[in-house]
């Protein structure tokens, strides 16, 4: 499973949104996610990929695609190390 697929599964589980309708353009607001959903998604992704996502970075995410891109980069950096 790719990073994007795993991230989508996590977000779908937490927001109770069908993963098939989560696209890179989807927003947390559009998924009716509250602030706790967002924190829980960040935490779950951090734990799944053993990465850290600072709040300052998370605040820049405009949509699911931004979130996935950030996670993909962090995973790639980790693999290089």
């Amino acid at each position: 499973m790719t990073v994007e697929e795993q991230t989508r599964e996590i977000v779908a589980r937490i927001t109770h949104v069908d993963k098939s309708i989560i696209t890179r353009e989807s927003t947390f607001k559009g998924m009716k996610a509250d602030s706790l959903d967002v924190v829980q998604a960040l935490v779950a992704v951090e734990e799944a990929f053993e990465i850290e996502i600072p709040d300052e970075e998370a605040q820049k995410f405009q949509n699911f695609g931004d979130f996935v891109s950030y996670v993909e980069n962090r995973v790639a950096q980790k693999e290089k190390v």
Binding site: S35, L36, Q40, L42, V43, E46, E47, E52, I53, P54, D55
Partner: protein, 261 residues
């Protein structure tokens, strides 16, 4: 009031009140393990400040809302140090909502981090303190007995934390483990800035009898005292650090009148 040679764990020790506590304990000679969850840089900075005082510091990542992560953290402490003298259960979180909007998820998230973590951390810490005694201090809030807007679930969690503190104090007394809590009013931290920005809390320095807001160091000073042998006979108490706010409500009204009159 020396804590020389003691080993302390401060949950949520990288920022705010936890950081002030970690630094205060270090200034009294304690080596400090700084637990953090989502802010590694802040925790590392705190650890650097601690080491600059000539004592040892360690940072350890763990979500105290997750029992498995608590176990991992204490396994590490047990394996590396084999002991613990002081536990500061400071890490906290919460969801700001009116009671009618609190759902199970918000309730459990808050309770697990604010209360269950005190139980689970103390259970593990007590084993590392066995035979040598120890100190446990948790951080509460005036919201445990005052009703603040959107603070319900956090306030309830703090009330439970204070009750748990009393039970722990009695049941761990035979092991010479002193358990207490410190409850503060609104403390000038990053978290408070958020509440002020959201309009949930007003800057209250002008209505605090002591004349200023509580700062993290005010809380840290009391925590450090409770960790000292001088506080040996204080058990199961919640010490309020609020500059007189909770007892000075009538005086406050006069003070405000004076300022405006």
């Amino acid at each position: 009031m020396s804590l020389e040679g003691k080993l302390a764990l401060v949950t949520g020790g990288g920022r705010g009140i936890g950081k002030a506590i970690a630094l205060k304990l270090a200034s009294q000679g304690a080596d400090v393990i700084v637990n953090f969850f989502r802010h590694r840089d802040a925790a590392q900075e705190t650890a650097n400040d601690i080491e600059a005082m000539g004592v040892k510091a360690e940072i350890i990542r763990a979500n105290v809302g997750d029992p498995a992560k608590i176990d991992e953290m204490f396994d590490m402490i047990g394996n590396k140090f084999g002991r613990l003298d002081i536990l500061i259960s400071n890490a906290a979180s919460g969801v700001g909502r009116p009671v009618m909007d609190i759902d199970i998820k918000a309730w459990e998230w808050t309770m697990n981090i604010n209360v269950r973590a005190l139980l689970l951390c103390t259970q593990r810490a007590a084993r590392l303190m066995d035979g040598r005694g120890g100190k446990v201090v948790s951080i509460s809030s005036l919201g445990s007995f005052l009703a603040w807007p959107t603070y319900a679930v956090v306030g309830v969690s703090k009330a439970a934390l204070e009750a748990l503190t009393r039970y722990l104090a009695i049941e761990l007394a035979p092991q010479s483990i002193c358990v207490n809590a410190v409850a503060a009013s609104a403390v000038e931290t990053e978290a408070l800035k958020f509440y002020v920005k959201e309009g949930l809390v007003k800057d209250s320095h002008h209505v605090t009898p002591a004349g200023r807001m509580v700062i993290p160091e005010d809380v840290a000073n009391v925590v450090a005292f409770l960790c000292s042998e001088e506080a040996f006979m204080i058990r199961g108490q919640t010490i309020i650090v609020d500059g007189g706010t909770s007892v000075g409500l009538l005086a406050l009204a006069g003070r405000e009148d004076d300022e405006h009159g």
